[in-house]
């Protein structure tokens, strides 16, 4: 269950830390940290993005109509996604709708920029992390732009639902 998540969280969090006894004895993975350079300070230099799907809970039997990793190189599409991300408002929630566990990570190229990757949640709190101040998306617009950039837009399908997947455990919390 959630096998891919090990890699995902490690990727988000960097090195794990350990602490003393209490509730358990194993190493505690670190919470996600913002990278040293965030996207919105360097957005004009980004030439491509890689969108990767992470954390699909195997027990919930969710499937997707597009690959788990998609690379976008068109300059117009890349700029549109970056612009949308950097326009997101800051905010947070204390208690949230249920979260399917699925997230999407966007990596920004060229790698030499050393930009922190951004993580998007299509369900639950609707957080977007990796942009410095915690943010969340306020509408489906981000997913529309992302779907268009990835060329996975389907007529009649709400982009957010496309990213949420289909099957017995899929959620589309629009």
């Amino acid at each position: 269950v959630l096998a891919a998540a090990v890699i995902a969280v490690a990727g988000m969090a960097g090195a794990a830390c350990s602490s003393s006894a209490g509730n358990g004895t194993s190493s505690v993975p670190a919470r996600p940290q913002v990278g040293s350079r965030v996207l919105c300070q360097e957005q004009s230099r980004v030439t491509a993005i890689v969108v990767e799907r992470l954390n699909v809970p195997a027990a919930n039997h969710i499937t997707f109509a597009f690959p788990a990793s998609v690379r976008v190189t068109g300059s117009g599409q890349v700029r549109a996604v970056v612009r949308e991300l950097c326009a997101l408002p800051a905010n947070s929630r204390i208690n949230c709708p249920i979260d399917s566990g699925i997230s999407y990570q966007i990596r920004f190229l060229p790698a030499a920029l050393h930009l922190a990757s951004v993580s998007l949640d299509p369900t639950g709190c609707r957080y977007v992390t990796g942009l410095g101040t915690p943010r969340r998306y306020a509408s489906d617009e981000l997913w529309k732009v992302l779907a268009a950039a990835m060329a996975i837009t389907k007529p009649g399908v709400i982009p957010l639902c496309e990213f949420s997947g289909s099957g017995p455990g899929a959620l589309c919390q629009v």
């Binding site: 959630l2 988000m12 509730n23 249920i98 969340r136």
Partner: protein, 387 residues
């Protein structure tokens, strides 16, 4: 109490971004506060919050200066209205959500009150019988409404869009990173309540940790969720303090209430769908301190009714806190109704899913609800690991 209304800077910014104007008695608008509206519709936002505001504190015990320092949204009562049967209602406008705190007259006894009077004063409807009636009688026999402080405090407001819903899925367990509990499905629920023994919190290898405990309607098939409960170690609320939250496609309101649970003691909250809104009721069953609230809020998702332990703020893997070590606590009676609150059944009596909180790190169970008993209205919630 003379408290100037000064919503938290980030609240003002977000409301401005979203075009929302707070109209509570002339207070609270960006202009009234001397805060400039956002210059365009979707700016990049970076709002610092003082470090001492990121700790747990009871907003109704904090000084006005501290609340102002934290930029908390403070909403004074717009008016005080008399109620037909006596008593009064303090009326607020919280970011466009009409919120009423009824105060019943002296001598009001919910045990003998009519259904109309219970509704008028925001009390839960009297169930027809069974365990639901016994629980109701237990809490109503102790209930005394705490004095209204005359203001409400919030630090959350936002707007998102809702477009469609999806049918419940045919699974009995749902692995996810933030919820653990029982969730009734396959009916349209109008009322949900839960009576639990407030968790004690023990030491943990993780830091920081937090947890919230709540019953609610919705939040599974859609992004609409109305919930009320208690929580521990969250910014802007005292330990075990009660709260309610309204989340929908267009709005989010998180409001702390001046009632606090006693660790290990009985606590009940109920969320009742009423015409155009909700009645929300919380009571510390150990002290009898209670608070009814009526909110005007049209979004409604009755496709699920649940009692949940949550790793708040999206969970640790989203940058939120780790799950507190509560070991286990008993859910004495958690039930839902699909007929307006007359007949209730246990959440695990109705067709239901077991929401299992699963670690995004390695798939290990973080928290879960044990097997239900007493016709599906009782069970223990267990914490297994903080991450």
């Amino acid at each position: 109490m003379d408290i100037a209304m000064k919503p938290r800077a980030r609240l003002v910014t977000v409301l401005s971004v979203l075009g929302i104007t707070i109209t509570a008695a002339g207070f609270g608008t960006p202009a009234a506060l001397g805060v400039s509206p956002a210059p365009h519709s979707r700016p990049s936002v970076s709002v610092p919050v003082p470090a001492d505001c990121l700790t747990s504190y009871d907003p109704y015990q904090a000084t006005p200066a501290f609340l102002r320092h934290c930029g908390d949204g403070i909403y004074r009562a717009q008016k005080v209205a008399g109620l037909p049967g006596g008593g009064r209602a303090d009326v607020y406008d919280v970011g466009g959500v009409r919120t009423v705190e009824p105060v019943p007259p002296q001598g009001f006894d919910p045990l003998t009150a009519s259904a109309a009077k219970l509704a008028e004063y925001g009390f839960p409807p009297r169930p027809a019988g069974g365990q639901a009636l016994r629980t109701w009688t237990f809490f109503m026999s102790k209930a005394h409404v705490v004095p209204d402080p005359g203001y409400l405090v919030t630090d959350k407001a936002m707007e998102i869009q809702a477009q469609r819903t999806q049918r419940p899925v045919n699974v009995t367990a749902y692995d996810n990173p933030i919820w653990a509990g029982n969730m009734s499905v396959s009916h349209t629920y109008t009322n949900v309540y839960a009576y639990w023994l407030e968790p004690n919190i023990y030491s943990s290898q993780c830091s920081p940790t937090a947890e919230s405990t709540w019953p609610g309607l919705g939040g599974y098939n859609t992004g609409t969720l109305v919930q009320a409960g208690t929580q521990v170690n969250e910014p802007g609320l005292g330990a075990h303090q009660a709260w309610y939250e309204l989340i929908s496609g267009s709005t989010n309101h998180f409001i702390g209430l001046p009632v606090t649970a006693t660790p290990g003691g009985q606590f009940i909250t109920e969320v009742d769908r009423i015409s155009g809104g909700y009645n929300i009721f919380v009571e510390n069953g150990y002290t009898g301190a209670s608070k009814p609230v009526t909110v005007s809020f049209s979004p409604y998702d009755g496709s699920t009714a649940e009692f949940i332990v949550e790793d708040p703020e999206g969970g640790w893997a989203s940058g939120g806190p780790y799950l507190s070590n509560f070991r286990n606590f008993e859910v004495e009676d958690a039930e839902a109704s699909d007929n307006g609150g007359s007949v209730f059944h246990g959440l695990a009596y109705w067709p239901h899913y077991d929401d299992v909180m699963v670690s995004p790190a390695d798939g290990t169970t973080m928290a879960y609800a044990g097997g239900a008993f007493n016709s599906g209205d009782s069970w223990y919630d267990y914490q297994n690991r903080c991450y």
